[in-house]
């Protein structure tokens, strides 16, 4: 990869200044190496294939200043935010403005250990993943020990405290021992429009490990960049879902490797995009061993001037015979200005595989609307019912009631807030 731009953008220059000025970052050789990897590429533009629909360099006019490690006041503010929040799981790990807040983390099951520690580089070629590694002051690892089979989800709460412009970087690893079973919810809350967030989660599932992982994004971050990097050993299973209901510009990127034979991955998401928001999900699944299964099922509801993006690439390497892959992206557009860009791709180098993909973009089904209205249900309520059903079908694939309930609630709240309903005003005569 070569730098396309001789000159740094204002944001790129600001990032460089921040990096140099923060000695905890610039004096770490690993971070310095990561930052130069970032600098070679610069902020992604449309010329970068995997960022084709989100020109971050153009969108990110300025770089918000790096958030300092949280002080006592910030931690107290975070504590109050946590008290106001309805917990989903048993225990929790809390990050405040990107930094690990051990004093707020509590109640982890005995089979889960959380340690603050440096994490190795992720084997992913992406400028924003490199920037995350360079700029993270802090990192931590959640280790699920062998024999663990906790059925209550553990929460990872990414709290942003403060109304001002700030950039937060968080870096987290989840490693699951052979045969262990675990569930995680990552919840991003508290960010205001001045916040630029860059979060990475590195997951490693050992043989036969089974993990469910849910992400909820429902705050007002100006920029949310999230990288989920997962590697699966033989017969490991990952079911990962994300609800994107907030954030002005959100980019979720998933890099999943089925490194061991007969590994299984189910990736899913629901993006609810209103106003002038933009939600980009880009994923790459690499089948590297025989007998792997991957399912990708992404839905989006786009209203107003919103823009949705789904890019999915399934790569089946030569060794990955008997791969079974199916990818689907479906979107409902609720206004004439709403946009959805869908680009599913398969790259298959093995000869004995069953892979397919499909993408649909449409509006609410007029036949279904008429049927509901013919039973006396008001138009807006009928639309809401159909949208809720459309969203629930994506959510329900996580197949765990405790994870499904909060997701359904968030979907219901989004619909009830009138977002996703604006259309009835326009389409009614």
């Amino acid at each position: 990869m070569t730098a396309h731009f001789a000159e740094r953008s204002i944001a790129e220059s600001a990032l460089a200044r921040d990096f140099e000025a923060t000695h905890a970052l610039s004096r770490s050789p690993r971070r310095a190496a990561a930052f130069s990897r970032f600098q070679v590429q610069g902020l992604p533009t449309r010329r970068n294939e995997s960022w084709h629909y989100t020109d971050l360099r153009a969108a990110m006019r300025e770089a918000a200043p790096l958030a300092p490690p949280p002080d006592k006041q910030t931690i107290e503010a975070a504590r109050r935010m946590l008290q106001a929040r309805k917990p989903i799981g048993v225990g929790r790990v809390v990050l405040v403005n990107g930094a690990v807040a051990t004093e707020l983390s509590e109640g982890l099951p005995a089979s889960v250990v959380f340690e603050r520690e440096e994490l190795p580089s992720a084997d992913v070629d992406d400028a924003m993943v490199a920037l995350n590694e360079a700029m993270s002051l802090d990192a931590g690892e959640l280790k699920v020990l062998g024999g663990a089979a906790f059925t209550d989800p553990v929460e990872i709460i990414h709290l942003t405290v403060g109304e001002h412009a700030q950039a937060t970087y968080s870096r987290l690893a989840i490693t699951v021992a052979a045969g262990a079973k675990a569930e995680f919810v990552e919840d991003f809350i508290g960010a205001t429009p001045g916040v630029q967030r860059n979060a990475s989660t590195l997951m490693a599932l050992a043989e036969n490990a089974k993990v469910k992982h849910v992400v909820m994004l429902n705050d007002q971050a100006g920029l949310h960049i999230e990288s989920q990097i997962a590697e699966l050993a033989p017969r490991a299973e990952l079911n990962a879902f994300a609800l994107v209901a907030g954030g002005a510009l959100t980019r979720r990127q998933l890099f999943v490797r089925l490194a061991g034979e007969e590994a299984k991955v189910a990736l899913g998401g629901l993006a609810l995009v209103d106003g002038s928001r933009r939600a980009d999900t880009t994923l790459q699944v690499n089948h590297k061993a025989t007998g792997g299964t991957s399912r990708e099922f992404y839905r989006a509801i786009v209203d107003d001037d919103g823009v949705g993006v789904f890019q999915g690439k399934i790569i089946v390497e030569k060794a990955a015979q008997k791969t079974d892959g199916a990818m689907k992206s479906q979107a409902i557009l609720l206004s004439p200005q709403a946009q959805m860009n869908a680009k599913p791709e398969l790259e298959i180098f093995a000869d004995d595989v069953a892979c397919g993909h499909g993408a649909t973009i449409g509006s609410l089904d007029p036949e279904q609307l008429f049927y509901l209205q013919a039973r006396g249900i008001p138009r807006a309520e009928a639309e809401s019912m159909l949208l809720e059903a459309f969203g629930r079908e994506a959510i329900d694939r996580i197949e765990d009631q405790r994870l499904i309930e909060p997701l359904r609630e968030a979907l219901g709240a989004w619909l009830a807030a009138g977002r996703g309903k604006a259309t009835s005003m326009r389409t009614l005569k």
Partner: protein, 249 residues
């Protein structure tokens, strides 16, 4: 109760109904019989307010009120009920949730409070038993994977719960075996009341053996070409539609 006056309708520019006039009195069961393509389903959709049907002339009145000025929801809330020939599948919406939403929409429009869950369940259970509908079926998504007979029984269940003033049944007999037909017909007959009108649209006389009509209208080429008593249905069964179609031409 229902007055249709000189109704002409086009769909995508094509005339389907041509100066059609018809009335259904309160307490009456009127049957409309006609060959395929005569415009029977179009008539039912126009009464219920399906979009994309363009009324070029005429009026449809329910107890003197112009239905054509209302959207489908408002028509339903005024008492119009259409039992669909092909009930729509709605994945992701549990049938029970749909029934409750529909019932409560009607109650709210009348200024009544929502039904409590036990009261709602009591009504559903009672109506389902009469129609031999398994409650388990109602926990599934609306019409998804239902057999033809199950879908039609569910339409009648909805009608029994909603208690409309004017029910239009569009080929409710199609796709039913004789047992299902009897159950559905009994469901309709239980709802016959002096204050309620029925418009039963069918291709065959078979349904009318179970739901005895007061009046039979014959429809061909978008208009009513003959009207009479129940004996007209038998005559049609004997002679076929040809004669009436020629008459309309």
């Amino acid at each position: 109760m229902l007055e249709i006056e000189h109704l002409s309708v086009t769909v995508h520019g094509k005339p389907i109904l041509d100066d059609l006039s018809l009335s259904v009195k309160a307490g009456e069961v009127a049957a409309i019989m006609g060959p395929n393509g005569s415009g029977k389903s179009t008539l039912s959709y126009v009464i219920a307010g399906k979009p994309h049907y363009v009324v070029t002339s005429g009026r449809v009145l329910l107890e003197g009120e112009d239905l054509l000025a209302l959207d489908p929801t408002e028509r339903a809330l005024k008492g119009v009920f259409l039992a669909f020939q092909y009930p729509i599948e709605i994945p992701g919406v549990a049938t029970m949730t749909f029934l409750k939403t529909a019932l409560n929409a009607g109650r709210r429009a009348r200024g009544e409070s929502d039904l409590t869950t036990p009261e709602f369940m009591r009504r559903v259970r009672e109506a389902s038993q009469l129609l031999k509908i398994d409650l388990e079926m109602l926990r599934r998504p609306l019409n998804v994977g239902f057999s033809g007979g199950e879908k039609k029984r569910l339409e009648i269940l909805q009608m029994a719960l909603i208690q409309p003033r004017m029910a239009v049944l569009d080929e409710t007999d199609s796709g039913l075996d004789i047992d299902a037909l009897r159950i559905v017909a009994e469901g309709v007959n239980r709802l016959r009341e002096p204050t309620r009108g029925f418009l039963v649209i069918t291709h065959y006389q078979r349904l009318l053996e179970h739901i005895r009509p007061d009046v039979v209208h014959v429809m061909a080429r978008g208009r009513i070409v003959a009207s009479g008593g129940p004996e007209l249905a038998l005559e049609l069964e004997r002679k076929g539609y040809r004669e009436f179609e020629e008459e309309a031409a």
